[in-house]
């Protein structure tokens, strides 16, 4: 599904990703953990095609295509989805209108007819139920004045609508209350199949109890410094990052 080899990226002369290797197979769920500022969101942004970051080395293969060659919109149309850590507020654009545009552009790209109003509405109703999001919220300006939790739920709603092959969730669990967390996890699990993969960035083991990962990686100073199973997340929860940081910093020194 996604094969990242020695990916390096920087922003304004600052090296942030220093050689990432990651191989995600269809149906797998990978979790990425790591201290603040280690480069998790940067990795997510580079994969989604944010142009502020300059890729200085390495390659990314997504379903047989050179991902780094594609525009952000084409990456999305090919089946990549990023749930943003900080969803943007866009006054004057409703989620409904924006989703309709996004969905129909994607359909067109794949040679499908656009959904008409009724079909779109039906799909929306179905997905709204899945993430228990209110119609009123979706008619409002995109994310404007949404609570932190509402924004995150809206990201998952959009994911459900677009049915991506690979979804990257960047701290979607942050700021969610227990119920919302369960709803979000439920939304993800409903989409899980042998064909879909997830890359879940989180600070908390809690989410991984609901979305059980196949692999857990630790990102530190722009590299994946440790990989393991879900037990690694448990260990991190207990011991913190210090023991890993020490190992890595010693190895570098």
């Amino acid at each position: 599904m996604l094969k990242i080899e020695n990916l390096q990226a920087r922003i304004e002369e600052k090296e942030i990703l220093r050689g990432i290797n990651l191989d995600i197979k269809p149906g797998e769920v990978h979790a990425i953990m790591g201290p603040n500022g280690s480069g998790k969101s940067t990795l997510a942004s580079v994969l989604a095609g944010r142009e502020d970051y300059e890729v200085t080395g390495g390659s990314v293969d997504f379903l047989g295509k050179d991902l780094l060659e594609l525009s952000p919109e084409d990456r999305a149309k090919e089946g990549l989805f990023l749930a943003f850590q900080y969803p943007v507020e866009i006054p004057g654009v409703s989620t409904t209108n924006f989703m309709k545009t996004a969905l129909n552009e994607k359909r067109k790209y794949h040679g499908l007819d656009p959904l008409d109003a009724a079909q779109f509405l039906k799909l929306m109703k179905e997905k709204m139920k899945l993430v228990q999001i209110d119609q009123a919220l979706l008619s409002r300006s995109l994310n404007e004045g949404f609570s932190g939790g509402e924004k995150k739920r809206n990201e998952i709603f959009q994911m459900a609508m677009l049915e991506p092959k690979l979804a990257i969730l960047d701290e979607t669990d942050s700021g969610l209350d227990i119920d919302a967390l369960r709803i979000v996890a439920n939304g993800v699990n409903q989409l899980r199949s042998k064909d879909n993969s997830f890359l879940v960035v989180t600070h908390y083991q809690r989410l991984l109890e609901y979305i059980v990962p196949d692999y857990v990686h630790v990102l530190y100073k722009g590299r994946i410094v440790k990989s393991g199973t879900k037990d690694l997340a448990l260990e991190l929860e207990e011991r913190g990052y210090d023991f890993i940081k020490e190992e890595v910093d010693q190895a570098i020194a």
């Binding site: 989604a48 095609g49 944010r50 142009e51 502020d52 525009s71 952000p72 919109e73 990456r75 999305a76 149309k77 990023l82 943003f84 969803p87 943007v88 866009i90 006054p91 004057g92 654009v93 209108n97 924006f98 989703m99 545009t101 996004a102 129909n104 552009e105 994607k106 790209y109 656009p114 300006s141 959009q158 677009l162």
Partner: protein
């Protein structure tokens, strides 16, 4: 022949009459002859090379209309087939082509007629009131040709069911056409009206419309006013919309500029009585070499008046958007509330925006605020939309439509709003 002699010939072509209108025209011709056309060094015209519009080959001759009904039909704004309409052709009011359905409420006649009948006093009192606010040759030149104007009266206590739409046709098929429409309107006490003005250049040549519309809004009246400009790259425009507001009258103006060569809009709200209220909204969506300049004035002459103003500009290519907002609060105008905001987005690398708030406040117990911004499209928002699979072009269009939406939302008439939304969507080449 040069432009001056052309103007003079056309001026003397007008048939004389013995009303106030004749002396008004003579006065204005004198003023124009003395002042001429404002140059760029004129503070109020510094972004508008209005002198360049006046060309020797400009055709100002007063000719009888050969306007065909099919052309008018084609230009009717979609969804307004039932509206009351006034037609101007080359700057002259065309009674024959104007259709007033709501005759018990609405009187429309030539300014010349009004100057000689029971409305003569009103004409004498109000015609030319804008001149004090625009003491320049452009305003005076229009006044000199006021004989072709129209007079509108909405009777006391009447509410129009349908809007009154004024179509200004300029026929440029025989060369550069200069038109100077003049309108005087009386919205009497407790009356309600929606007035729409729009401009059509037929013939595909160059055109220049220099318009003055003066409106007096009576006690407790409500006036909605929409000015829609989408004439094309060969059409120049200088226009003044001047409103005198009486007690508790409410005026709501929306000015939409989508196209043109050189465009100048003056919008004046003169609060002559207490508790008058005005709302002024504007959207200019420009491309190519268009220069559009919106000058607004709110003159608070009495206490307890309120004004609200929001103008938004989107400039692509080499276009220039100018906003100048004057708010005067006179000495006795305590408890004035006046808000003003101007926001601009530059898309084209060569595009520019100039914005200048001008507040002159001589009373102490007032609330006034103003703000202006000039920026680019929000990169984070753009990326967010693209990351969902929306093409860059559509993402930009969505964001710009959103930027414009609060101005369009001010247009109450659904069909007209939808029509303008569609024009904007086409301009931004949004592909559903």
């Amino acid at each position: 022949m040069d432009v001056k002699s052309n103007l003079k010939t056309a001026y003397s072509q007008q048939e004389g009459n013995s009303t106030h209108l004749a002396s008004f025209q003579t006065e204005n011709w004198k003023t124009f002859s003395g002042m001429g056309i404002p140059a760029l060094k004129h503070e109020e015209w510094k972004y508008i090379p209005v002198k360049n519009i006046f060309k020797d080959e400009m055709n100002i001759a007063i000719e009888s209309s050969n306007l065909e009904d099919t052309i008018i039909k084609k230009s009717i704004l979609p969804g307004t087939e039932e509206a009351n309409t006034i037609v101007f052709f080359n700057g002259r009011f065309q009674a024959d082509h104007s259709i007033i359905h709501e005759k018990d409420a609405l009187v429309v006649k030539s300014l010349e007629t009004a100057a000689g009948d029971e409305d003569a006093l009103f004409v004498e009192e109000h015609l030319g009131h804008s001149q004090a606010y625009h003491p320049d040759g452009v305003n005076a030149l229009n006044g000199a040709f006021a004989s072709g104007g129209a007079f509108i009266k909405l009777k006391k206590g009447k509410s129009l069911l349908q809007p009154l739409i004024i179509y200004h046709f300029s026929d440029s098929s025989n060369g550069f056409r200069f038109s100077q429409p003049r309108i005087l309107a009386s919205i009497e006490a407790n009356a309600q009206i929606t007035i729409v003005e729009t401009y059509i250049n037929i013939g595909g040549g160059e055109s220049f419309t220099n318009e003055v519309i003066e409106i007096c809004t009576g006690r407790d009246s409500i006036t909605r006013y929409i000015k829609l400009q989408n004439e094309g790259k060969h059409s120049n425009h200088t226009g003044t919309t001047h409103v005198r507001q009486l007690e508790r009258s409410n005026t709501h103006a929306v000015t939409i500029t989508l196209d043109g060569a050189i465009v100048r809009n003056n919008l004046n709200m003169v609060m002559e009585d207490e508790h008058a209220e005005s709302h002024m909204y504007g959207l200019y969506l420009l491309n190519g070499n268009t220069i559009a300049d919106n000058h607004t004035i709110v003159d608070n002459r009495m206490p307890h008046c309120e004004s609200n103003e929001l103008y938004k500009g989107i400039m692509d290519d080499q276009s220039t958007g100018v906003f100048n907002g004057k708010i005067f609060v006179r000495k006795d105008s305590q408890k004035t509330n006046a808000y003003q905001s101007n926001k601009n987005i530059l898309i084209g690398d060569q595009a520019s925006a100039n914005t200048k708030p001008q507040l002159e406040i001589f009373a102490d117990d007032v609330k006034c605020s103003h703000g202006c911004t000039i920026g680019k499209l929000d990169e984070d928002a753009l990326f967010y939309l693209r990351a969902r699979g929306i093409s860059e072009k559509n993402a930009k269009a969505l964001l710009l439509q959103a930027f414009a939406s609060d101005i369009l939302g001010q247009i109450e008439h659904e069909a007209i709003k939808n029509y303008i939304e569609q024009l904007i969507s086409e301009r931004l080449s949004f592909q559903a």
